[in-house]
Symmetry: C2
Subunit: 246 residues, 2 copies
């Protein structure tokens, strides 16, 4: 499998010379990271430009769309088997009208013909994932000099329509929080109701009353109640729970 | 705006000669129709083949993805301004491996080079709409000889992965029933709780207890209660409701 992972100029040259991508189509991933009750999103900074973008890439002609998304996620995090869900395809004609790619290529002293595929309009398929950002290393691609995690409320200046893609990805995560949390391995195998509530509150950006939260979560029948967590103060020991695997 | 709407061979020739489509990309619409408590989906039968497909089409290079979906829906129903939602993009490498297009073209005595865009792999973006099928006329496209409404439980032999797209579209409709029903104009402006319940039961394929249904629907605060519907038997007159427009 070819990858486009390192950040030197040779990689950019190789990318430009690639002829095996589907034209006009890309994938972009909103990779949300949760740790210590903060929700962040993984962004990449372009070389020599004060502008950031989502981890994204192109689709090989002999590759499933989904494989392309998995590959991009792997290239940026070196993590495999992550739970990644498609949420929306962004296809406005004007979404790539300010062609950042041309500036980036020219800034490196390279050039491409006007009708080169990389300067064309792109329709992009958005994917969403939720991981523990303290576990993932991050690796920039050919266009970028660095990766960083940003709090979702403090997004820097984004290329193309990537700010809208982040907003839609976050909305998707909120709407599908039950599935995403159960699949994300963000919690240890056994956790307390308080741990789970903190995770939900951070992602949804709102506080819940303890009893209401517990009633709602238990009504979904996705949790198994285990033994109590004894930590010395036995009277108040909370129950532990785990997700029921389907 | 160019359209590809009629079913004669000239239209097929024009389609083949078209050079202004984005390669490898299509749109497909699951147009669900509701009338008299039956849920159907609009399908097209190919010329000279015992095989059906969803209303679909290609995306012009100078057209928003969404415009393409609206155009396809318009070409097949001649209805404008319908509520149409994107639900998933289907991108498996093998989804168009049995190239129906080649057979159709050859059956008409036409031919295209092996590397012609119409014989390539297609990634397709799925859209979903819910309309009153008694109101819509239907119009076949260049590849098809007829349109027909099928009950969702009685789908004929479908091309490509269109049976999966129908299943996913139906699942999307069920999950988003509140939004879709409110936007669909399937009910008259004023309706009874019983009318609304019948519509929900048909789409979801399950029966509800009257009180449970009423409580759940009213808790969404999307309905305004109006006067009673007097039909002579005044004692049992039910209330009328209407959707609150946002």
């Amino acid at each position: 499998m070819k990858t486009y992972g390192s950040k030197n100029i040779e990689t950019l040259k190789q990318l430009i010379e690639e002829k095996d991508f589907i034209p006009n189509l890309s994938v972009d991933c909103t990779i949300f990271g949760f740790h210590d009750n903060i929700l962040k999103v993984l962004l990449l900074k372009y070389h020599d430009l004060d502008m950031w973008s989502l981890p994204g890439g192109f689709v090989f002609v002999d590759e499933d769309l989904r494989e392309a998304a998995d590959r991009v996620l792997y290239e940026r995090t070196h993590l495999k088997g992550l739970f990644l869900e498609q949420f929306h395809t962004f296809g406005r004609l004007d979404r790539t009208i300010n062609n950042v790619h041309k500036t980036l290529i020219n800034n490196k002293g390279l050039d491409v013909p006007k009708d080169h595929w990389i300067l064309q309009r792109f329709i992009t398929v958005g994917y969403c994932s939720l991981i523990d950002f303290s576990l993932a290393n991050t690796f920039p691609d050919a266009f970028n000099e660095t990766c960083a995690w940003f709090e979702v409320s403090k997004i820097p200046k984004m290329a193309f329509d990537h700010d809208r893609i982040i907003a839609d990805g976050h909305e998707y995560l909120r709407k599908n929080i039950d599935t995403q949390v159960a699949a994300s391995n963000l919690l240890p195998e056994k956790f307390t109701m308080k741990d789970l509530q903190s995770l939900y509150e951070t992602i949804l950006g709102e506080k819940f009353r303890r009893n209401n939260f517990q009633r709602k979560i238990l009504s979904m029948n996705s949790l198994e109640r285990l033994e109590k967590l004894y930590d010395g103060s036995a009277n108040k020991a909370p129950f532990l729970y785990k997700f029921i695997k389907e």
